[in-house]
């Protein structure tokens, strides 16, 4: 998951590198750190460093990390020969390494050789039974073959052992959403919020799932979590501001204004509406009329 400012920095670096302004290594490091999937670019710029003898030697020990990163990017772009070459270099440097073994397994995966990949991973797990990355490959392979219910099953089993793996909980939540199993997705986000209560994207995602399920109680809870997202992001998160408004409308429709609580909470949606208007006026003025019209229909326009 990438925050807005980090995503912006990555995009800036990307265009800088693309336009010949240098900074390729910085860009590649950022992509690695953010776990972003920019395989075309990584392959292009990573290879240009690796193929340049001087640039490569400047990297020192990081050279091997780059080989690994380029191998993954090559697999994603279906450039299997490039990946194979990178793996060959790495195997020579680190013979018998489990980490390299994993990369080999992934190359088999990217070729669609699922059974062979499974064998490689089984062998690696013999030596290193608690290797989380290898365990998760099973989930990835199920997902890649389109067997989402198997992916869910494996992921649940994985989380029974490695329950602190936030990425895994998020992945499971997203798979549930894609299967329209919203209650199960909500459970995953609840786990994430419990373990990391100040991470805004979890609050936001939880609110969005609850809104999707619908029903008065869920909408009221969703509104609370949209509100906590607003609080955690200093009012800068557009989706959360919109969410507060949408929940208010939906709740009002369901209660027909009978709920006393709503009158007390009405400040919140007015503030959210105002914040949206201010933001659009400044950064998206050509869309302001659409926003105003929508808020008016929601009866939130002051």
């Amino acid at each position: 998951m990438v925050g807005a400012s980090e995503a912006a920095r990555m995009e800036r670096l990307e265009s800088q590198v693309e336009n010949g302004g240098g900074g390729a290594w910085e860009y590649l490091c950022l992509v690695r750190k953010l776990k972003a999937r920019r395989s075309n670019k990584v392959l292009k710029h990573g290879l240009s460093i690796l193929n340049d003898h001087r640039a490569r030697s400047k990297l020192g020990a990081e050279e091997w990390t780059l080989y690994e990163q380029v191998a993954f990017a090559a697999m994603d772009c279906q450039q299997h020969d490039v990946a194979k070459d990178c793996i060959a270099v790495l195997s020579k440097q680190f013979p018998g390494s489990i980490r390299i073994g994993r990369v080999e397994g992934m190359l088999l995966e990217s070729k669609g050789a699922w059974a062979e990949a499974e064998k490689v991973y089984a062998r690696l797990l013999d030596d290193s039974p608690l290797d989380q990355i290898i365990h998760k490959r099973k989930v990835a392979m199920a997902k890649a073959q389109g067997d989402l219910s198997a992916a869910v099953k494996f992921l649940n089993k994985y989380l029974e052992i490695f329950m602190a793996d936030h990425d895994a909980w998020r992945e499971l939540a997203e798979i549930y959403v894609s299967l329209q199993m919203y209650k199960q997705a909500a459970f995953c986000y609840e786990e994430l919020i419990l373990s990391q209560p100040t991470v805004p994207p979890y609050h936001l995602a939880y609110a969005e799932v609850l809104y999707t399920i619908g029903g008065l109680e869920n909408l009221q809870t969703a509104k609370k979590y949209y509100a906590s997202t607003v609080a955690l992001t200093g009012g800068k998160n557009t989706r959360a501001l919109y969410g507060v408004c949408s929940c208010s409308v939906a709740i009002r429709q369901l209660t027909k204004g009978r709920n006393k609580e709503e009158k007390e909470m009405s400040d919140l949606q007015t503030l959210a509406a105002e914040a949206l208007q201010r933001d659009y006026k400044q950064r998206a003025p050509n869309k302001l009329p659409l926003l105003m019209s929508m808020l008016k229909n929601m009866k939130l326009n002051s």
């Binding site: 890649a144 329209q180 999707t212 557009t238 989706r239 969410g243 949408s246 659409l290 926003l291 929508m294």
Partner: protein, 206 residues
Amino acid sequence: MGAECCYEVSQIAYIKLVLHALKHRSAAVNGLLLGRLRQDGGATATVEIADTVPLSHSQIGLLPALELALIQIEEHFEAQGLSVVGYYHANERHDDVELGNAAKKIGDHIFRYFPRAAVLLLDNKKLERLQSSKGRDPVVQLYTRDSSKSWRQTGSDGSNQLTLKEPAANVVLLDYISSEKWQEIVDFDDHLDDISKDWLNPGLFN
């Protein structure tokens, strides 16, 4: 709908759709089709798909962004005499040729307001072959609702044909692909992340 119905996709609509999918290759993407119904006289009618608005490239099964988008997009295009006439979807996996449940649900929703709603599913294999085949057929599959309320792929049986309004659309598409035009596409998701990004994509084809 027993009457014959044709679906005609404009170049802009078609290219935006494909570019959107190409920008987010490892994700499913979706969007709305904007257009109007044209009565051709007699029993035939044509749905002109004049434009598309790319919606999302993540968490497609969730409601909030979709609702917002429908409200704002409908309002904007009303002034041009266009309304939401369908939905497009591109699957996450290369070899997935099924129209998924999320897509069907959204299609159903649009169908309630526009009974000749079209759902276009990107055909990944056709897109892949486009470079070498230089074909003129659209790289999307058309689905319409049949009398049993399910979404059916339209075949070569003659009814519910999908055509490209500008016959050279694929040539233009290939050109944009080679110049990596997809990097400039903005969807509603991008707008929600940064409201200064415009989901209308003005100036995309300048």
